[in-house]
Symmetry: C4
Subunit: 215 residues, 4 copies
């Protein structure tokens, strides 16, 4: 599990979702009330299975030689309140954070968005770090929502998934569609996709493809 989480950070780097140390991945340990998360202040080049840290669902350090990510409380809150979630990712990726800075949801005008997010990517509240405010904002926004990603106002993206890899995929796809819809909007209004078509695309992608392997 430590190796999986350590390695997945390379995807954040590969897709330019992070600079310096400002982004993190966590994964729930199957069958235990624990999760593995990035250590604080360690650069992506230096992440190894060994320096990953293990926390309980209150965000307390259980195992590891470094302090856990400063975003650990938000990850922990999600794991405590969304038992179906097995992975959480946080980034300040450029285009998604730009929508977040305006407090504007990304409208669903691409079939790839309908597939992955089932509609718009919503905005969560402005929340300060230091208590459960960010975690609450994530959970209130995503509970019962099709989207696996939320744009926290003036802040950045949190994404969730059945496991850490799925959460990373959601973070990657979120930035990709945030960028494409931004670029589309720069020169006019994107054409809407009918709700029935969005539903049909989402249903097919989650179910038909879900029975085999992800596209």
């Amino acid at each position: 599990m430590r190796k999986i989480v350590a390695d997945l950070h390379a995807e954040l780097v590969r897709y330019n979702l992070v600079v310096w140390t400002a982004g993190n991945v966590s994964g729930r340990v199957p069958g235990e009330d624990l999760f593995v998360i990035k250590p604080s202040g360690v650069s992506y080049d230096e992440l190894t299975p060994e320096n990953m840290v293990v926390c309980d669902l209150d965000g307390n350090l259980v195992e590891g030689g470094h302090a856990p990510s400063s975003d650990t409380a938000a990850h922990a809150y999600v794991y405590r309140n969304m038992p179906e979630v097995g992975g959480v990712v946080h980034t300040h990726s450029t285009y998604a954070s730009a929508w977040a800075a305006r407090g504007e949801a990304i409208p669903c005008v691409l079939t790839a968005m309908a597939d992955e997010f089932g509609g718009e990517i919503p905005i969560g509240p402005f929340a300060l770090i230091g208590d459960d405010s960010i975690g609450q904002g994530i959970v209130e926004t995503l509970k019962g929502h099709r989207s696996k990603a939320v744009l926290m106002q003036n802040h950045g993206v949190f994404s969730i998934g059945k496991d850490a890899k799925a959460a990373v995929k959601a973070a990657v796809m979120c930035e990709d569609v945030a960028r494409t819809v931004h670029v589309a909007r720069q020169l006019g209004d994107p054409l809407p996709i009918a709700q029935a078509d969005i539903d049909s695309l989402y249903d097919r992608y989650q179910n038909v493809y879900g029975q085999r392997s992800p596209r």
Copy 2:
């Protein structure tokens, strides 16, 4: 053929046309009613000649241990209906997909576009995945058109070529001109190129250079 198709996916990665597993290349097997295509859900790092899959022109799996790309039906429809086509590429590349989201063709305001596409890059219809709608949209738009690429509305790009490499080149050039024309349009109106000049550039590039090697 498997090796050629596997290797060409690296060009999609190199030119940032794809994220995660969301793009695919196929190539017709010369002299047979078969084509080689990317397996579904396999990342670009892991593509090898061995895990490529072979399909017949109805899109049925003929050979291979993985399910074929979820876009296989569209590739197959093109091969069935455009016998001159030897390669097909599909991407959601950012700038081309942004034009597609607005349902707007890319105007021919660059000599490189006149060379490669002979005019504008056209818009194809909105079509749902699951039957032949996407394939029909591609073929109806590109048959008899100079352009080797079509922007499928709210979706992404399909490009074709005499072989897989030519289709990849068309996908690369499509994103490149989509980006440059987008950037040009952000600050004003690009200057038009006279139709006679477009015709002259296209003719020269396809014929004079076609007799030797591509530029």
Copy 3:
């Protein structure tokens, strides 16, 4: 110290803050009135601990086989007038330089900006190279300001830090927020963050996290 400064230039390249040889890092030698800086006209690929140059606080070459960076006078002025500064970085990074070309400060509309810069990133005066004008402009703007980066009008960025690595981090974060706020502004007005929230974020990041390790 030479090795640290040489190696930190790779971060400027990694984050696309520089092209050709147009950016430089320096670091004060602890306990001495000296600093190490990039040699002039040497490409980033060729930087080694050995070809770094050492200057005194008037910018005179003390040790090294190459001329020091053409921006040495500005670095030296900062070290002479801001004893708490241990590192200085200069770049022409794209988005920050674009704000600088308009003479416009970057407003603090992202929590990451509040964390790192404690508010807006300010504009410094237009100043010609060749005397102390650039150094004076940097010091006048940053003295007593929370921001560790200044956008010199029509020119580029200078950033400072307690050591060379902290100054590089400020340069990286400056471009990152310059880009995100630019992108946000392209499609409307970013939402403001209340001053009390900015103060609270800055205080926490500089103090609570400062006592352990940087995020």
Copy 4:
């Protein structure tokens, strides 16, 4: 000389000035009426000193197993008519080509532009490939102009230098300032730099620094 020219193409790739095979570098052979240029249709990965081709100043192939670049006539015209030029580069780099598509010169609003180009980067005429039109447009625009780069309308960039490396540097800097000024203009009007300041920066950069090594 073949090795220098072959290797310099890697800089075009490194700075994202080219896609596929659409850009080329040439260098005059010192003391001879010859120049070395990229072969046509060979990808940048495959360029070696051995497959570079040598042409005379009329653009005729003198040595080499491949056809010379399709832009050879333009390079040759420049060498014939500007004896001080030792290197020529052609690209379709995105931002510079976007200014070219609008037929708009890049205004000098950055000190780095004043240093390198001494003022605006000018627009050359629309010209078709196939005779000396492009070469004439380059020479008419750049003769007696401080700028070492010209934006050929609806086409792309040609840059010149005392040698091939200087021409590559001009191509790299041209795209860099084209991008920064574009980004600046997206959100308002960049502040002008006084002509006297432009003159002073250009003079210093070309002369003071010219006597030592480039910055």
